[in-house]
Structure formats: C-alpha cells, structure tokens
Amino acid sequence: MKVAILVFPGTGGEQDCHYVLTEVFGLEAELVWHTETDLRRFDALILPGGASYGDYLRPGALAKFSPVMGSVIKAADSGTPILGIGNGFQILLEAGLLPGAMLVNESLLFYCGPQKVEVVKDRTPFTRGIAPGTLLDLPIAHGAGNYFIDEAGLAHLEANEQIVFRYAGSNPNGSVGAIAGVCNAAGNVVGLMPHPERAVEALLGSEDGQQIFKALINYWEAKK
C-alpha cells in the first residue's frame, strides 16, 4: 500500500504522519506537495493537521483551491480511502467532500490536551474492526474544531450513519452532538479533529491511535 500525505503551504503535521506510517508501521508513504495533480499512484490519502494557508479566512478555506484538490475529489469519487486529520478535516469540509462546517471553539480558545473519543461507526477504512462504543485516548489540538451542521443535516448524518467519532466525557469545543469525526455517504472519506497519529507510542502517552492505522492496513489486506 502506498499512502500520499498531502502538504499544503502551512501544513504542519506531514512529518508526524510520515514518521508514523513509515517508522511505526513500515508502510510506504510519500509527502506530496499541493501542486501535484495526479494522485492515481496512491492507494490512500492523508490530509494532515497544521494551518494550511495560515488558517486565513477560515481554516481549510484557501486550501480547497490548491491544484491537488481536483485529484483528491477524483480519488474520493473512486472510493480511495481518504483521511483528514485536524486541519485536513477542515479542508475536506470546505471542499465539500464531507458534510458540515467548522466554527471556532465555544471557549474561543485553542485547546490542546488528551481526550476520550468514542468510535461510533466501524464501517469505514479507518475504523474497520474497531467495535462501535470503543473509547480511544486521542489528543486534540485545535482552535476551530466546533463542528456545525443544521438540524436537518444532523438528522441526515444520523440516518445515513455518517458519524464516525464522538467526544466522550466532556465536549471540548461545543461540537453539535459532540461530533469529533464524520465520513461521506460512501464511507471512504473520513475526517476527524483528534490526532490519532500522535497516539501511537506508549512513550508519548497513548497507543490507541494505532487502531486507526491498523484499520487501514486491515482494510487494504482484505481488499487485495
């Protein structure tokens, strides 16, 4: 499996993701600059965290016009597993690949810290094999992770089972329905605010994030 890690100007989490995929899981991964227009050689895409375009205007709003996004949309349509983490999630929302939008945290403050996250849906490439209801320790670090969707949209999300993760315990940012992550209707595009890549080593406090990457590996093995 070959994974593309997309790098927009201002993206910060690409080295973290690259380290985790290659050093921790021994996968093949490549940093792909945002001007690339052909992603067909990759089996999965990750849009990492950070502050693409400085989070100016709205987080993710400017990145959606990067040249690479055309091929991200194509990959999404063709069923390629795509994971957006933090700012990557925000980009997927702004690009319309995932439903809803992000607002600034209810506290108006950036929030970094450990967080319990409940897996709600296991039928995505990134949660395959994780029993719904499983609680994961995944750190969060964001200033605009307050997920919003209107009531009709929320009802639609629930009916279509597009909610993948919810915050457990306290809701750290005011998200509607404590939603921490969602997927598209087909389930191959997943976005979440928590950072699974920062939770893959006991040395750093939690290994729960491994499950997300192992799910992708399982998905890939099963598909082969």
Binding site: G10, G12, G13, D16, G54, L109, F110, C112, A141
Partner: protein, 744 residues
C-alpha cells in the same frame, strides 16, 4: 520627502532624537572622517542601541564561562549550539520582547516567538520546542488581565500555526511588574552537525539575497519620525508595532532549511531588530568582509520608501542569505516553491565597508566593524548598593505570629496565581506538535522531549525568581541557575548549557547597575561551579514604569541531556505506601517566599543562601538515583516550600500524603520556607536502603518524612501536632481553579 542634511543633523542635534549621545555622534564623525548623512546616523543609532549593542552588559558578559566539551557554538552567533552525541546538536537561545508586549500584548508576544524561532533555524536547525518566561502584575488589575490574556493568545496564535510546540515555561504575578510585563521566549532547535550554518558573509563576490516577506515601514515610525518636520506624508505614520505572520514564518522555516540542506547557503541571518542594517553589518563583520547592497532591489510592501526606512525597517519574517555564487537560481527556485520572494540585492566585498546604494546613488558608506557590536561603545557605570536592602534585610520574622494550623495557608498558596496550575495557559499551546513531548507541561519540573531515532532525550526549562534577586541580586542569581539545573536534574537530565535573559531597569541608575553587576556575577559563579557553560543570551534594560524599575529579573533557559529516555522522571507520586523523603539539606528560610508575600505583601527578608558545593552533590545524587531506578518521583522545592512541593506531587498523582516534620523550629518556615538545595522524592520501601547508601555516598542527607496515602494530606510537626489536614481533592481544586476563576 526631504531628509535633513548632514549639517542639519549636526546643528539641530537630530542625532539626539534618534537616541544617540553627543559622544556617540562624535565617535561616528571621527570614524567616518566626515559628517554622517541621515541614513548613516539612523544605522548607527539602531545598531548602537542598548538592544542591539549590549553597551552596558557586554563588559559584564566576560564573567560568564562559555567553554565546555559539548560547546560547538558559544556566544556571538544567533544562538548557542551544544553537542548531544550521535551527530546531533541542540541549538537554543532566550530573548525578551518586553516593550512591544507592554504596548500590544498579542503582536508583541507573537513577534517575540517569531524572532526567536528565526534565530534557531538560521543556524540550520529545525525548531522543536518553545518555552516562555512571563511576568505580570497581579490578576486583580483589569489591564494586567488584558495583557496576560493577550500575551498568551499571541504566543499560541504564532507558535501553534508554525507547528513548533510550546512545551514549558513559568509565570510569576507580582505588583513589581504591573506597568512593565516581561515576555521572554526561549526556542530550541535540533540540527545535524554537518548542517550547522552561521551568520557570516564570506566569499568575496558571493551574492547577498533578501528572502521572505516584503519590507514595510514596521517599527521605524517611533523615535525617528517623532520630529514631525521630516515629512508630511501620512503614510509614514504607520503603526510602530510590528505584526507577525506565522504563515509566512512557517514557509520561511521550510524554505531556509531546504536551502541549507541543499548546500546552497554560505551564511544566513535573521533580520530582527534593526533589520537589514544589523543583518548585513553583523554578517560582514563576523566574516571580516564587506557588503554592498542596493535597497531599490529589496522587495517593498509600501511605495516611496527611503533608504533610511528600508535599512531600518523591522518588518518580520525576513532573512538575509549569502548563497554560493552558482546556487542563486537554486535558492530562488526553493523560495519560489513556497511562494516567497528571494532577490539578489548586493554582494560580498573585501574592504570591510557596508555600502548602501539606492539605484545608482550611494546612500550610506560605513565600516561594518564600527557599526557592529564590537565597534559600539561600552559603558561601565557607577554602581551603588540600593538603600531598600537595609530595610528588607532587616525584616524580623517574629513580627508574624505563629499559628497552630496551616491548612488555610497551604490552600491559599496553591490558589496564588504564581504557584497555581498553569493548565489554563498551556492548554492553549499545541505542546504535542512534532510528536516528541514525552513529559508534557505540568508533569514535571521541566519538559522532556525525545530525540527521534536515538535513545536520547532532552529536558528544557526556564527559571528566574525576580523577587529573590531583588532581595539580594547575587544570592538570588545563584539561586536562579541552581534552580534551573535542579529542575532538569529532577527529570533525569544532566544540564549541558544555559542561555540568559537579563531583564533590568535603567542601568544609568547606580542602584540598577549594581543589581546588574551583582546578578551577572551570581549567574556566572553558579554556572562555573555547576559546570554549565553559557552559550549566549539577551539583555533587556530600561524596564521601568513611572520611574520605578522592575525587580531585577535574570531568566535562565537551560537544556539538559537524558542519555536513555526510559530513565526519565516526573514529579507525581505514583503508589500508596511509597516513602516520601527529602533529598538534600533541611532548611526553613522564609525570606522572599511566596508565603511571606501572602502575609506581608511586599518582598521582605533575605533570600535563601545558596551553597553551590552542596547543590552540586545533591544534583549528582539525584541523577544517580534516577539512573539506578531507585526513586519514583522527584520534585524540586521552590515557591511555596516543602508543603507546596508535596501537595503538587499529591495533586499530580491524585494521591495523599502523611508527612511528619522531624525538625525543630517555626512550623511556617518548615512548611513554606524556600531554602534551596532540596528535592522531595518518593521511593518504593524495598529500595529505601539502597537509596540511603547512595545518598550517603554522595554526602547528601536523605530524611524520611512519611508515606504516600490514598487521599488525605496530613502534616504533623515534631511534637506530633497536626499542622495541616486536608484532602488531595481540596488541594487540587484550589490549585486548578486559581487561574480560571480569576480570568472568567
């Protein structure tokens, strides 16, 4: 726009409004052998400012020990470089941004972070951590709350999007800083030895490039444009506060490191204070070369800028690069990838002159050496011991009645913002970015980062108790270095280098100069005795408001090395029935303590006496105990004394403690005294004997105080009287709620 002529500058003493003294102006005339023009006077005025030239502190810096086996780069560069083995080196420095933060807290702090990071990656190092040391007035003051919130937001607003984790820091709240907050930022970078890059313009004929953000009028409107007759162009009245752009900084980091890795760069320097003037002159004078630049080629953000303005602008996120001659196109391509301008504006020459052209016209021509720090005048002032010391040192503790119960005092101390949990602050910082943070803020006396691809880790801390230094600048400063080292040692790290941030009042006042002298002597003596070389630092003088100087506040940033990251230590108690013990020499000095502040408000008494010989033995013993896995927690006794230290270990471990104080004397001193050279450790009972032997072998006392319990926190004195009785939940509530409840 009409600039004054050289004659007008002389006759109307325009040099004065630019901050030069008459003697300095005359020295410039003598150096040049003619009257300087406006641009030249401007260049000298900024580079010979206290901020750039360290006119008062440079003679005193000679006291610092600056060499050591691990030192790759000592003072004199953008940042110090220390070897940590395996081909890696750590780059670090501390810098203040006090004045800008007092005017505009968000941008002041943000640009402080930005400037500090540039000093790190200009050395070829990737910034891996930032810390901050902050001083504010008390939080009951509305303006103080505004400044505090703004500074924290600024640090977060810049540090988070550039992807550099803010992993630690310290904050003191005291009326002594009400009108003049202190914002010191330390940054730490990691570099392979072969990529260490210096700010030196060598290779005659090599091009000189300006890269990064375009140049505007930021930061030059102040002193120079105060004399209104210079211009009626309203554009010139741009705000004096520089604004930071973390997005451009992030791109600049990536582009500079890519250019350095590509082997394209001969020398590189941040354009910090005094912008193009300082960067060109420092790079040339370090190499013994000259630089010729044409300011008309510098990318500009505003129309109609003069050579004076371009040379003095403090626009952020810019660098001066001297590439290899054949690598210009490579550098341009790398910067183009990140959407940043990279323009050749001149070349390196061999005659030691800085020549500034504006198109075909020569706008300034001065010897680089004369402009540089080495060429600037230095001042040794008259020193006088301040009279207040007679009063504070005569303080008589017996005027404070003894109590039978100190539970309320302990809760009040935990509720004091200086001691309280700083979670409200560090939650706003992305302290996990880059995935190296092994010991996070609030978990130990210092932050610990792992070095990927090795077994190693580094610990980093910033420390500086200004109140102690106020009460005795020499002893207080010994204490600052000793405490920083002790904090590192408590995480299992061996201190390997320090950087100093000196924050003082007006050195032209004999009392302030005395404080400065005494303090630097203290820092230097402690650094020498503990064998921790000084790799550079920063001085911020003239920190006063309404004529009142701040507490003399030297801040030490220190880096320690952990050879095996598995042998790291935190400060929380781990298991019930573990033995709680004091490693070090018992003490009960209350002078300058937080407890005394609670009782009398103003700083009083003499600060703890520092015994460097004992300190050294203690630190060695503690490190050995950690490396031999004999202890389960280590926490330095500092603000709030032994009782607060144990309370914090309880809170962090969510456990209780049963402690018996075996010493005679005033209970308040035993509980809350801040005597140095003491570490509270917790020990598995089966390891007690081995630990006792180890302590004895280092000649360090180990005193058994009690045991870790489930949730009650009880202190008993030698007469078996309970003097503190509470629960960990009550302590935790006081400690955690202190900041949120004051900030709303």
């Amino acid at each position: 726009m009409k600039e004054p002529t050289p004659q007008e500058i002389r006759d109307e003493k325009i040099w004065q409004s630019l901050g030069l003294t008459e003697a300095e102006y005359e020295q410039i005339c003598k150096t040049l052998g003619r009257l300087p023009n406006y641009t030249e006077v401007g260049m000298y005025s900024v580079l010979w400012s206290e901020h750039c030239a360290y006119k008062h502190t440079r003679p005193l810096f000679k006291l610092f020990p600056t060499t050591g086996e691990r030192i790759i780069q000592g003072p004199g560069e953008n940042a110090g470089v220390v070897d940590i083995g395996d081909g890696w080196a750590v780059v670090f420095k501390i810098e203040s941004h006090n004045h800008p933060s007092a005017i505009e807290p968000y941008q002041g702090a943000a640009t402080g972070v930005g400037g500090m990071l540039r000093d790190i990656f200009t050395m070829g190092a990737r910034p891996i951590a930032a810390l901050n040391s902050l001083r504010f007035g008390e939080l009951d003051d509305e303006r103080v709350r505004y400044l505090f919130k703004g500074v924290i937001a600024g640090i977060a607003g810049y540090g988070n999007p550039v992807g550099v984790p803010t992993v630690g820091g310290e904050i003191y709240f005291d009326r002594g800083y009400t009108g003049n907050p202190l914002v010191n930022v330390m940054a730490v970078g990691l570099v392979r030895h072969e990529l260490i890059t210096r700010a030196s313009a060598s290779g005659v004929g090599n091009p000189v490039m300006v890269v990064g953000a375009p140049t505007g009028r930021d930061g030059i409107a102040g002193a120079s444009f105060a004399s209104g007759e210079l211009t009626d162009d309203s554009e010139a009245k741009s705000p004096t506060v520089q604004a930071g752009d973390p997005f451009v900084e992030k791109l600049l980091i990536e582009a500079c490191l890519e250019a350095i890795e590509a082997g394209a760069v001969v020398g590189i320097q941040d354009m910090g204070a005094a912008g193009l003037t300082s960067s060109s002159c420092e790079m040339a004078s370090r190499a013994g070369s000259g630089i010729e630049i044409d300011v008309s080629l510098v990318p500009q953000r505003e129309p109609g800028m003069t050579p004076f303005e371009i040379m003095l602008s403090e626009s952020q996120e810019r660098m001066l690069i001297v590439p290899r001659k054949e690598a210009v196109e490579r550098v341009k391509a790398i910067f183009a990838k990140y959407g940043l301008p990279a323009v050749v504006v001149g070349k390196v020459t061999d005659d030691g002159m800085i020549r500034v052209y504006n198109g075909p016209n020569l706008a300034a021509e001065v010897p680089a050496k004369s402009l540089s720090t080495d060429g600037a005048p230095t001042y040794v002032r008259q020193a006088k011991r301040p009279a207040y010391l007679d009063q504070t040192q005569a303080f008589d503790l017996s005027t404070i009645p003894e109590q039978t119960d100190y539970t309320t005092d302990l809760l009040n101390l935990l509720d004091s913002p200086t001691i309280a949990s700083k979670q409200w602050v560090y939650r706003q910082f992305d302290y996990l970015a880059q995935m190296n943070t092994v010991v996070a803020p609030g978990d130990a006396d210092a932050a610990v980062l792992r070095i990927k691809g090795t077994k190693k880790g580094i610990a980093v801390t910033v420390d500086g108790n200004g109140r102690m230094v106020y009460l005795d600048p020499y002893q207080g400063s010994l204490g600052v270095v000793a405490e920083a080292a002790r904090n590192l040692v408590c995480t299992g790290a061996e201190p390997i280098g320090l950087t100093d941030g000196l924050n003082f009042g007006n050195p032209e006042k004999p009392e302030v100069y005395w404080q400065l002298q005494q303090s630097i002597q203290g820092l230097a003596d402690a650094a020498r005795e503990l064998a921790i070389p000084v790799t550079g630092g920063n001085a911020s003088l003239y920190n006063e408001s309404s004529g009142q100087p701040i507490y003399p506040t030297p801040i030490v940033g220190m880096v320690g090395l952990i050879e095996d990251i598995d042998l790291r230590m935190t400060s929380s108690f781990k298991d019930t029935d573990d033995v709680i013990a004091l490693l070090g020499w018992p003490g009960s000095e209350l002078g300058g303590s937080e407890w005394l502040k609670l009782k009398v408000g103003e700083p009083q008494g003499k600060p703890p006496v520092i015994n460097l010989g004992r300190e050294k033995a203690l630190q060695k013993a503690c490190l050995a105990a950690i490396r031999r896995r004999l202890i389960k927690s280590a926490h330095d006794i500092s603000e709030g004394g032994l009782a607060v230290c144990i309370a914090e270990s309880c809170i962090q471990g969510n456990l209780g403690a049963e402690v018996q104080l075996p010493w005679p004397g005033r209970i308040d001193g035993l509980l809350f005294g801040e005597s140095a050279g003491r570490i509270i450790v917790s020990v598995d009972p089966t390891k007690w004997e081995e630990l006792s032997e180890l302590a004895a072998s280092y000649g360090v006392p180990l005193v058994r105080l009690g045991r870790v319990t489930a949730n009650k926190v009880v202190f008993t004195c030698a007469q078996d009287q309970q003097v503190v009785s509470t629960t960990v939940a009550s302590l935790k509530k006081a400690w955690e709620q202190a900041l949120p409840k004051r900030l709303g």
